[in-house]
């Protein structure tokens, strides 16, 4: 009997402790201790899942250099990243798209930092026997005007469209660079690259698009107008389907966030990590693209 009671009391104590700790946690938020030379504090970055692996890895190396700093990297989607950084709820918002192209974001409150480039390639299930398409053919496929692979030089097989989620960064890049205002036909939509990879790989006649880093052997990447989807072709804009990865900070970013963004543009990240993880370095680009999609030479 005593045993039970003491167990109950222990339980109560633990809960009480948890509640107290919770209360204390409020103060330990994202404030930065500024005194002293050693950088210390806490930074939270949320948003794009496409950029997440890079930021995570960079954060690890950054923390190794600055032991008193905690960088907390989470996903949640570009929309979440932009909303929360604009509202001041997090320090850094990771996004696949320009804040300007998302209505409803308070762009005057945030500063943009480009940290990498991602190239995207149309992918098809290999059984379609299609290896190249023209831009117009690709448009027509996603607009629903072409419905059989036979019509574009492939096998006699129905085309299964797998589009990306409306509002996602990948979808926006594809719509801006391929569809150019044309409306996509109603079709299957998937949010995650992993799911698209598996669906296209296992469904005969399927077509979708993926970042270069997700191209695997069981998928056929498609060349467009004779240009193959390679990093070299992205650098000079011969390959058109690419976009920036952005990290947005608040206008008055704290010291740690600023230092971390600076680290993202350092040689260590741009020279090694970016390539290792399948992104394209911002420093290698020979062209610049603005929020409206206009491309100019650097």
């Amino acid at each position: 009997m005593m045993g039970k009671r003491s167990a109950f009391l222990t339980g109560l104590t633990v809960i009480a402790a948890a509640v107290t700790l919770t209360a204390c946690g409020g103060q330990s938020g994202s404030k930065t201790a500024t005194s002293g030379k050693a950088l210390s504090g806490k930074v939270t970055a949320v948003g794009s899942t496409a950029l997440q692996p890079l930021v995570e890895q960079a954060a690890k190396d950054f923390q190794a250099k600055n032991p008193n700093v905690t960088v907390n990297v989470q996903g949640g989607g570009s929309g979440t990243g932009l909303s929360q950084v604009a509202q001041g709820a997090v320090d850094i918002g990771n996004s696949d798209i320009f804040a300007e192209s998302k209505p409803g974001v308070a762009t005057d409150k945030i500063t943009e930092h480009k940290v990498a480039v991602i190239g995207f390639a149309p992918v098809v299930n290999p059984d379609t026997k299609v290896k190249k398409l023209t831009m117009v053919q690709l448009q027509n496929i996603f607009a629903g005007k072409v419905t059989n692979w036979k019509q574009v030089g492939g096998k006699n097989e129905k085309i299964v469209l797998v589009n990306r989620a409306t509002g996602s960064g990948t979808r926006a890049t594809f719509d801006d660079n391929v569809m150019k205002g044309k409306k996509s036909v109603k079709s299957q939509e998937q949010d995650s690259s992993g799911a698209v990879q598996k669906i296209v790989g296992s469904t005969p006649g399927a077509i979708s698009y993926l970042a270069f880093s997700y191209l695997t052997k069981n998928l056929q990447a498609v060349a467009i107008d004779g240009v193959t989807p390679t990093t070299a072709n992205v650098l000079n804009n011969k390959w058109k389907i690419w976009s920036y990865e952005h990290m947005y900070t608040q206008k008055k970013a704290n010291k740690v966030a600023t230092a971390f963004i600076k680290f993202m543009n350092s040689d260590h990240v741009q020279g090694e990590l970016v390539k290792k993880l399948g992104y394209i370095s911002i420093k290698d680009m020979q062209v610049v693209k603005d929020a409206k999609g206009n491309v100019t030479n650097k």
Binding site: I15, T44, L277
Partner: protein, 291 residues
Amino acid sequence: MNRYRVNQIMTGVLNGVTFLVVLFIASFILYLLASGMTAVNWHFLTTSSEVGLGIRDQLFNSLYLLLLTQLISLPIALGAAMALTLYADSRSKLASFAQGLIQILSSLPSIIVGLFGFLILVLKFNLGFSIISGALALTFFNLPILTQSIAVSLQGVPDEVMQSGLALGISKWHTITKVILPEAMPGIWSGIVISAGRVFGEAATLIYTAGQSAPTLDYTNWNPFNPASPLNIFRPAETLAVHIWKVNTESLGQDAATVSRGTIVILILVVLLFNLVARYFSTTMRKKVGR
């Protein structure tokens, strides 16, 4: 056809259908185990996901989160279930209103619970992506399930028990804690296990609250306020289920599939272990109560 013949046929059908379904479930689970078994070894269990692709930290996080969640939700669910079944008249307006509310809550998709946790706990209460945010969000998710299953097992205790207790002049509270609760304990215990299984496999709620990164932990550091300590409840924590989700949706490289399959094997084995332990306790308890 006489009733004995009907009986013979129908019991045969019952046995047959059960056998087929069990066979199906068994092959489903064996399929998952077999496809991941090769990925599982001592190294996989004892290294962190950053160094050796292992899942040591995720395994610890899952268990720790589960423990915290049950510590917070069990007393509340137990109290609420007692109030609904033993105190309030089950036909009263309050009871049926409360039951309806709890029922609706249990059909909420977990992503909604996750977003609620994200906007309220992580941002408004400034708890950040942390174990405590995750545990509280899981509590929202867990409370309706647990409350309802405990209520069912309390209802299973015959009314006569309460009445005879009261007739003997023992207080209601005394009757409940000394007689009714022990009597209902096996059922309550299996309710806990069922909810534990669901909490363990839950991903959508945690993606937005406990987060999906697993900072390297130092298992020799037992100071709960140190960020590297496994016990710290303010650090972000990726669980096994979230790890599987992440590896499957956004992860790169050839190892992803292997890691995911291996993680599934560990998850299934842990849930199996839960069930076995629970069954053991439940039967010993039943024996104690004399059922």
